[in-house]
Symmetry: C2
């Protein structure tokens, strides 16, 4: 196979000289990432070849044959990747569906979601690496009670599948006690890098999405990363240009703006990956740096009527990365019959795909007119393979960025204070 | 009635001295806004008493009796307010529904949406003030053709309702020609301030939402704005503190983070209002300033597992405004039966409402620990009146901010370049 992704950076502000100066750091970043992977300290690269994954996918396909709905309970790294890929790849008119809950503790939302389920046809996939995530576990305990009331405890246990730490944690223990089916999250993969493990792939495969093809796409990006020099590799180039925009030009806001409704949720996945990985108080040496770009999720063409005024005329503190899908599935066009209409005749016969492509080009132009940088990721089409590529492209870019910033891209010390306080307020 | 909104600003960074110094500017801002309203230059304040609106609401209720679905076609200011309030107020288990499209030119999305409609039971509400919005009108022409194929041209015309400029424009002309029912957008109200006109209220009333109560809520906020001194008024206080954070402390990123799934879309409405109104190249004197905070839509508690790492540890360039709903509709709690469980017993009996409140408080605490400012808007509950208050609260705050920044909050010159380029690319 060959890559379905291309990255066009000609409208980014930093040029060859800046990139050349960065070359040694970029090469070092690549080596560090490969070394973290080879030593087993980080598992998110090698996992795409994990022999357990095809078995997990097969299990999902067996559940798919018996049930219609998978209630996915997770938050943050335990649900954003599946949400993004489900929105992007959901088969049209499918009888199988994913229902996401557990990403909040909103009683109104959860009550309505649970009320709508037919428990006989539903499996629960509860996802938490630590097994102690309060939002997810509260939702799970409530959902489980409803399922048990409907099916009885014994049958319910057969319809509960937990995705959690391989070795330890409260949810792992609960699986042992209650005999729930258990899917492992490898210890050396953090939540926001776990989309291509059982966390993301089990629910996606249940929904009838080709999870093996997602892995193939990810493998392709890894192959490119390993075989290309760091200056040729597009993920490395993307990371380098965002880093230069941040450090050299004070562009602290980095917007991802896909021109496709199906990629709306993908921008939210990016938002977590970029923010939690790169927003850090201390660098790897322990010095206070308070660093990190603020990722913003936008959507084209919609946000041209919402955010572009600010992006073109407001402070020059942003980068915009578009994603363009070259070929859409449907071939919708404005009816030719309006041709004789005095007012709308000019739109007759124009394909929506051409309009949305023109919208992106026009926005790129409007930004350029005001000397605002932008870049574009081109996707040949939206399919399981290209989504796998896209996920791995950004995981690699994030890891590279972490090395360039000199911070640990894999921890999240800043959320601990809030978690402790939450427990103290709730007295638990 | 009394207001259902309160604003707690004790964790914002600017204190009494800064606010005192701003007092004359704040008072001048208030007077300017009232003068713009009294002179008729701006209509978004007075519109909530417009005698046409109850008639428009009645029309929507008559359509509600005959049809089940309203296909809402609009973009930006023509759909974000209705989306936000529909998400917040949608009656549970209602047989009437709104389907939003026309906010993008994505062929895959539109094809699926249209494929799912039963035209016999559907009305189209196409919304564009200028009547020339390419995204909306393309979607409309495609949807109309499908409706006409299904129902015949004559019947289809009876099921099309256009919301557009009172006096002029291409869609207005089309209404005359094709005999479509027409709802007016007053000339002196811009798109992003038009949520409380026919633009938002017609579809909401069709969906069974109490549009009169929305207006009542908005009236309450206007009453407070007019009767209170600008230093006592909460909308003015909110605007002043955000302005001080921007100008005195370089906090260019202003996050709205409701702790309620039903307010997820509200943050997107805020995002347009804040960005398009305040992001400006030139001030009112015509001098280049390139000013404007970047609004960010977040969601609690979900984004604690996505964005809080960055907000607490990254650059100190943000303000966070929480929205807390004091009383939710549903009284969901973790089952008491888990009490004997060794691991999850501590969660037994805890109400989700209490958890989500504790989550907000914990996040406020975590930010405060790092000296990051935040504020909280408290809503007694989520209902039509409080949503009307919330909309008007932010419209007033935006108008006040515009005066404080010394810019025109009502235009959007920066989107013109892109629109022109789009037409030139499409050769129309």
């Amino acid at each position: 196979m060959s890559s379905q992704i291309n990255y066009d950076s000609k409208r980014m502000a930093c040029g060859p000289a800046d990139l050349k100066a960065l070359k040694p750091k970029l090469e070092a970043a690549k080596n560090k990432i490969l070394q973290l992977s080879e030593s087993g300290a980080q598992g998110w690269i090698d996992v795409v070849h994990d022999v357990k994954l095809p078995k997990i996918i097969d299990k999902a396909c067996r559940e798919n044959a018996k049930f219609t709905t998978c209630l996915v309970l997770g938050i943050g790294g335990s649900d954003l990747a599946a949400r993004a890929m489900y929105k992007a790849l959901k088969p049209a008119n499918s009888k199988k569906r994913l229902v996401f809950a557990g990403a909040n503790t909103d009683p109104d939302e959860l009550a309505e979601v649970l009320d709508d389920l037919d428990w006989k046809k539903t499996i629960i996939n509860v996802i938490s690496k630590s097994g102690e995530t309060i939002e997810t576990m509260s939702a799970f305990l409530i959902a489980r009670e409803k399922m048990e009331k409907s099916l009885g405890k014994k049958q319910a246990a057969k319809q509960i599948i937990a995705t959690t730490s391989e070795d330890s944690g409260a949810l792992r223990a609960l699986c042992e006690k209650e005999n729930y089916y258990f899917l492992p999250i490898p210890e050396n993969i953090g939540g926001r890098f776990s989309g291509l493990t059982a966390v993301g792939l089990f629910p996606l495969a249940f929904a009838g999405i080709n999870a093996r093809a997602i892995l193939k796409g990810a493998q392709e990006q890894i192959k490119l990363f390993k075989s290309q020099s760091s200056e040729k590799n597009k993920a490395a180039l993307f990371a380098a240009l965002q880093f230069l925009a941040y450090t050299k030009q004070k562009r602290g806001i980095q917007i991802l703006m896909p021109y496709a409704e199906r990629l709306r949720e993908f921008a939210f996945w990016y938002r977590q990956l970029w923010a939690e990985s790169l927003g850090k108080e201390k660098n790897a040496k322990g010095e206070a740096v308070n660093i990190g770009p603020t990722p913003v999720a936008a959507l084209g063409a919609t946000d041209q009527h919402s955010q572009i005024q600010l992006y073109t005329e407001g402070p020059d503190d942003k980068t915009v990365t578009f994603i363009e899908v070259k070929k859409f599935k449907f071939d919708l066009a404005v009816p030719k019959s309006v041709k004789s209409d005095k007012i709308f005749g000019k739109l007759a016969g124009i394909k929506l795909e051409n309009i949305i492509h023109a919208e992106r080009a026009a926005t790129e132009f409007a930004l350029q007119q005001k000397s605002r940088p932008s870049g574009t990721l081109y996707l040949k089409s939206l399919n399981a393979t290209s989504m796998g590529e896209l996920i791995m492209f950004f995981e690699l870019a994030t890891a590279i960025s972490g090395e360039l910033y000199g911070i640990n891209a894999y921890d999240q010390p800043g959320v601990e204070a809030g978690k402790m306080k939450l427990k103290s307020i709730l007295d638990i």
